[in-house]
Symmetry: C2
Subunit: 106 residues, 2 copies
């Protein structure tokens, strides 16, 4: 579980990968489509996608000879949850309400 957290944080450590994640959050894309948005080779983009996949931040589905990369909210959520350790330091009302709702959701 802590390993998943590490792979997630590692994936987010690179600005290109954070950028890719925001692209995929809008719409799923093939490797080539993602690569169009960056000034680097398709191979380099593919590596970034592999790291994002290892961090469980994206899902990859092979369709024929194409690969559809899509954003995985649950994976990012796991990284996001780490920040909960520090909730008490931010706005008290917000964090209190937040825990209240999360309790309610479960």
């Amino acid at each position: 579980m802590t390993e998943a957290e590490q792979l997630g944080f590692r994936a987010l450590a690179d600005p290109t990968r954070r950028s890719i994640l925001r692209l995929l959050a809008k719409d799923e894309m093939t490797i080539a489509e993602v690569a169009e948005n960056f000034q680097m080779t398709r191979a380099a983009v593919k590596k970034h996608l592999a790291v994002l996949s290892e961090g469980d931040l994206i899902r990859v589905e092979t369709v024929g000879r194409t690969r559809r990369n899509s954003f995985n909210p649950d994976g990012l959520r796991r990284v996001f949850d780490w920040f909960g350790y520090f909730d008490v330091f931010w706005d008290d009302r917000l964090s209190a309400l937040k825990s209240e709702i999360e309790k309610d959701v479960q």
Copy 2:
């Protein structure tokens, strides 16, 4: 602004640094005190503290010959805010309420 974000994410990419941050969130510490919690040299811990400082996640105050390292909530908050791009993917009620409160706070 995006550079600060990058330094923040980079600082959080290492598990030792995330661990240090949680320690300092409980209480401020000198380098030696932080180092007691890890099986590595004080020099290595000092490097981690430097990265955390560059990411604006901790504050450092020199007092005599000691250095007090303390958690900086505002710096972590800036990293945390990046996740707002994905709010819509998580619980709708929570994120809606969250934005509402944040609006109210400002």
